[in-house]
């Protein structure tokens, strides 16, 4: 399975539960959705693709590279401003203004050119009217995980990261402020089974598991919102 970087912890738990329940092994590779999109167009041997942006699976479907009727919007992502616990400015109190503080020299975001979370971060910064002011401070991570790593290691004093990473064990101890969903285009995350998948039945079983109450509860736990339209399979 190719999974978006923001699924690191949620997918870890999902696959563990799935393995326990069914005995089928799950091999997950995490990375930027844009990278996987390129690789899949060039025949990368994945069975399932869990993208952070539903556009990539949609494009693969249009190119005829996917199993019909398997496209599924499994979650809606959220972004937060995150700082380590010992940051000089309190983002929970100041929200956007924290990024303008002098103690924040570098702000890490994912690369907006190919990471959905990076694009959402830029959109939200523009909506908040501070994009031009903070642009000199921005540093770009390869994907949302590297952006999180830049800020978690202290090299960047603040970052706009996926909520799913911010609530994970590694980053839970920091301070976060949730960016209102209306400030950026919805981070619709979609999954699809690949046409050349070698293990289609197992892939279908996993997708069903993700759609189940147990799967959705796990995704919720990691800060994802579950789209309430149950007829996901037919959504185009």
């Amino acid at each position: 399975m190719a999974a978006a970087a923001d699924l690191k912890f949620a997918m870890g738990e999902l696959s563990e539960t799935f393995e326990k329940q069914t005995g089928m092994k799950v091999n997950v590779t995490y990375g930027a959705s844009g990278n996987f999109f390129s690789q899949l167009q060039n025949g990368a041997p994945f069975d399932l693709f869990f993208s952070a942006d539903i556009e990539y699976p949609r494009k693969l479907e249009a190119a005829g590279l996917t199993e019909p009727v398997t496209l599924y919007k499994y979650a809606i992502g959220r972004i937060v401003i995150w700082t380590p616990a010992d940051a000089q400015v309190d983002v929970t109190k100041k929200g956007w203004n924290a990024l303008l503080d002098a103690s924040v020299e570098k702000i890490a975001i994912a690369n907006p050119e190919r990471a959905p979370y990076g694009r959402a971060a830029v959109a939200a910064l523009q909506k908040a009217g501070i994009y031009e002011s903070v642009k000199p401070k921005l540093v770009y991570g390869e994907n949302i995980s590297q952006a999180a790593q830049f800020v978690q290691s202290g090299n960047a004093q603040a970052g706009i990261v996926a909520k799913s990473l911010a609530v994970s064990p590694a980053m839970r101890g920091g301070k976060r402020w949730e960016i209102p969903a209306e400030m950026h285009p919805a981070l619709e995350q979609g999954a699809v089974i690949l046409k050349d998948a070698k293990n289609k039945d197992a892939a279908r079983a996993f997708l069903e598991f993700v759609k189940s109450d147990s799967g959705r509860a796990t995704l919720s736990k990691y800060g994802f919102e579950i789209p309430d339209n149950l007829k996901q399979a037919e959504k185009r």
């Binding site: 930027a32 844009g34 990278n35 390129s38 020299e105 570098k106 890490a108 690369n111 050119e113 190919r114 921005l138 540093v139 770009y140 991570g141 390869e142 830049f150 290691s153 202290g154 090299n155 960047a156």
Partner: protein
């Protein structure tokens, strides 16, 4: 071609720094008779073996506010070292270190010991001997060291990816730029930049091998 200029600046700076610090290290390794020399040689050769991402990652941690280097830098300059051109220079110097030092060692060791003895007998101190005897005779090695550190830094990717932050004009080197274009499916642009880099790298390497094969001897004008 901002990225190419940035990469060239980085490669040139690293080449100069590596020659400056590489020569004393190579001199010591070539002429010292300390039995623990092999340990130092192994440390020097480590960047050849370690994945660039490992080097880059630990460089990032060391440069961070909790790392030893980071703390010192912030105390001296008030801001961090990561995501700056200076940070890239530091990481590249570490990464290309063996590429400078090893050719220098080989060249220094290749100088006929009798010439060094003769120089000492005639009253020349070690600095004078180095400048007048060892260095001129080691010119192929110095040129190789210079050219290889330049070329190796020009092609660097993994280390820059880990510590750079991809800032245009500051840390977006040509290898990162090509990667960006590929990931954005802009293959035409990626191909163009890759071709330029290929041609430059080939020219640079041709210099190394021409000198080593005595095809071209820049010092022969004496």
């Amino acid at each position: 071609m901002e990225a190419l200029w940035l990469s060239t600046k980085l490669a040139a700076s690293v080449m100069v720094i590596l020659l400056a610090i590489g020569m004393p290290v190579a001199y010591w390794l070539a002429y010292s008779s300390w039995r623990g020399k092999f340990l130092v040689e192994s440390v020097v050769a480590l960047p050849l073996v370690l994945p660039p991402t490992v080097l880059g990652f630990y460089a990032l941690v060391a440069m961070g506010p909790r790392g030893p280097l980071g703390k010192l830098w912030i105390a001296l300059f008030g801001h961090g070292l990561a995501f700056t051109f200076g940070g890239l220079i530091l990481a590249s110097v570490l990464y290309s270190f063996p590429f400078a030092v090893q050719p220098l060692i080989v060249s220094f060791e290749g100088v006929d010991r009798r010439l060094l003895d003769a120089s000492a007998v005639l009253g020349a101190g070690s600095v004078r001997t180095f400048l007048r005897v060892i260095l001129p005779l080691s010119l192929p090695g110095v040129i190789t060291a210079a050219v290889l550190s330049f070329a190796h830094t020009l092609g660097e990717f993994g280390v820059v990816l880990m510590v750079g932050g991809n800032l245009a004009g500051v840390t977006r080197t040509v290898s990162i730029d090509i990667y960006d274009h590929v990931q954005s499916l802009e293959y035409g642009e990626a191909n163009r930049m890759a071709l330029v880099l290929l041609v430059i790298s080939f020219a640079v390497l041709s210099v190394v091998y021409a000198v080593n094969r005595r095809v071209w001897m820049p010092w022969a004008a004496k």
